[in-house]
């Protein structure tokens, strides 16, 4: 290898991007050629200077917030756009054979209606706890996203307080409902604070509790209509979710604690929550 070839490859050599044979050829050349050795040393100093002294522009905190909220807006926009088209494809899937039989005949709408009602009855009876499963799954995904976001982006709480008499009035002023806030620190679930969130197409209260080093997000919003339903437990992506309703509110607790802890949390919460 001559000097010209060696100089051309110096950068690749320094960056460790050459193949072993070329690498060795350069090393041999540098050993034998003082001029190239000197040039290489100069180059090495320069590279160290560049690596050390180039200012690194970290993102300011408010940019993170800006991005998170713009993603949220984008997500809200997409969910209203996609939910309706998404709802339809699952519909024919439930009765794949009926399409060909009923197609084209004038009476097919009646049959179709009957088939839908029949399918609904079947679904209601054979999928207990899962009637709203599509919606629940959608919600569960949103819940996980909210929970993860609240932990990763330094936005766990809007009002940080272990005092229920601070958190509750704060919530009451921000929302059009008054969520129950209870203090469970003596039971091992200290209240950390509260936050506003947006789920199921509405603003919701997020109460944050702690269990040892884990956080529990409890999302609360008013029950719409008659939604009496059994407690549902969901495990998804390593998160535990527990859903229950009382006459006034929907509750979704989500955390990475174990299922037993979350059950205990729910029972304590229900016991302490003011009955209406």
């Amino acid at each position: 290898m001559n000097c010209e070839e060696a100089r051309k490859l110096t950068d690749g050599y320094w960056d460790g991007e050459l193949d072993p044979i070329t690498n060795q050829a350069i090393e041999e050349h540098l050993r034998d050629c003082p001029d190239c050795e000197q040039a290489y040393e100069t180059h090495r100093s320069l590279i160290r200077v560049i690596s050390n002294a180039t200012p690194y522009y970290k993102a300011p905190a408010e940019l993170r917030e800006r991005i998170r909220s713009s993603l949220r807006e984008e997500m809200a926009g997409q969910s209203t756009r996609t939910v309706a088209p998404d709802a339809k494809p699952s519909f024919p899937r439930r009765r794949p054979e009926s399409r060909t039989i009923l197609w084209g005949a004038p009476w097919n709408w009646l049959s179709l209606a009957a088939a839908v009602i029949f399918a609904a009855i079947i679904a209601l009876n054979f999928l207990p706890g899962g009637q709203r499963s599509g919606a629940d799954q959608f919600l569960a995904t949103q819940l996980i996203a909210s929970h993860v976001r609240s932990l990763m982006a330094n936005h766990l709480t809007d009002v940080a307080s272990s005092d229920q008499h601070t958190v509750k009035p704060w919530m009451d002023t921000k929302l059009d409902f008054a969520p129950p806030v209870v203090e469970l620190s003596s039971e091992g679930f200290p209240l950390v604070g509260g936050r506003l969130d947006y789920l199921d197409n509405r603003p919701v209260a997020a109460l944050v509790y702690q269990r040892r080093k884990h956080f529990i997000n409890l999302f609360v919003w008013p029950v719409a209509g008659d939604a009496a339903k059994p407690t549902t437990s969901i495990t998804h992506q390593g998160y535990q979710m527990l859903h229950w309703v009382d006459p006034d509110f929907n509750y979704w607790a989500i955390s990475d604690v174990n299922e037993k802890d979350l059950q205990e949390f729910k029972q304590l919460f229900e016991k302490q929550a003011p009955s209406r």
């Binding site: 560049i50 993170r64 984008e74 494809p89 999928l127 407690t231």
Partner: protein
């Protein structure tokens, strides 16, 4: 009707274990349908890409050389990334994001400062810059962020970007080639030219101070 009656009398609080099994089954079934939805991805999107926010901002800041524009570029890049996240199947989220940041930055540069993109640099002459300066003299600038910052700012965008990707993000030639959309073989020569330019800047400064 038997079915209906059964539903009415179904216990409201069911056996916990069996209830969970049913829900799990339904979840698995539904996950296939929903996997591609943006909603399902927002959590994993943020998890995958928000950790690279500093890298994204740093690259944009070096490319557009202005804090406000850099923030706009990064925000726009994240939105673009989010919209095409379902198409992203790779494992290198950082490189993918940086590609989008780079392209977004260039869109802005093209719009506002076309002149910035042209390299009016005679590579052959500068590639063999003065080598009489000692390594120790150069090393004295290793804390001089102001000098290096100025030197970087005077380089063409394609040099700034390649130096940032290599020296600040420590990316491989292959990754840089993907991001800068050049052939892997071009990465080394472009890096060499960019470094030579910086070296020239530094040695000129040293010459002046002598």
């Amino acid at each position: 009707m038997a079915l209906l009656r059964k539903a009415e009398h179904a216990p409201q609080t069911e056996d916990f274990a069996s209830d969970r099994k049913i829900v799990k089954f339904v979840l698995v079934k539904n996950r296939e349908e929903q996997d591609d939805s943006a909603e399902g991805n927002v959590g994993s999107f943020e998890e995958a890409l928000l950790p690279h926010l500093d890298a994204a901002h740093n690259l944009a800041r070096w490319l557009v050389r202005n804090e406000q524009d850099a923030q706009d570029v990064v925000q726009e890049a994240y939105l673009r990334a989010f919209k095409s996240f379902r198409g992203f199947r790779g494992s290198n989220g950082r490189a993918w994001l940086l590609t989008i940041v780079r392209n977004t930055s260039y869109t802005l540069l093209k719009k506002s400062r076309a002149a910035d993109l042209t390299t009016t640099f005679d590579e052959e002459i500068h590639a063999t810059a003065d080598e009489s300066v000692s390594p120790a003299a150069i090393l004295e600038y290793s804390e001089d962020a102001e000098l290096i910052g100025q030197a970087m700012d005077e380089l063409p965008a394609e040099f700034r970007e390649i130096l940032v990707l290599r020296h600040q993000e420590g990316l491989s030639y292959k990754e840089i080639a993907d991001i800068a959309q050049i052939r892997p073989g071009t990465v080394m020569s472009r890096l060499a030219r960019a470094r030579a330019r910086l070296k020239e800047y530094v040695t000129t400064r040293i010459g002046k101070e002598k």
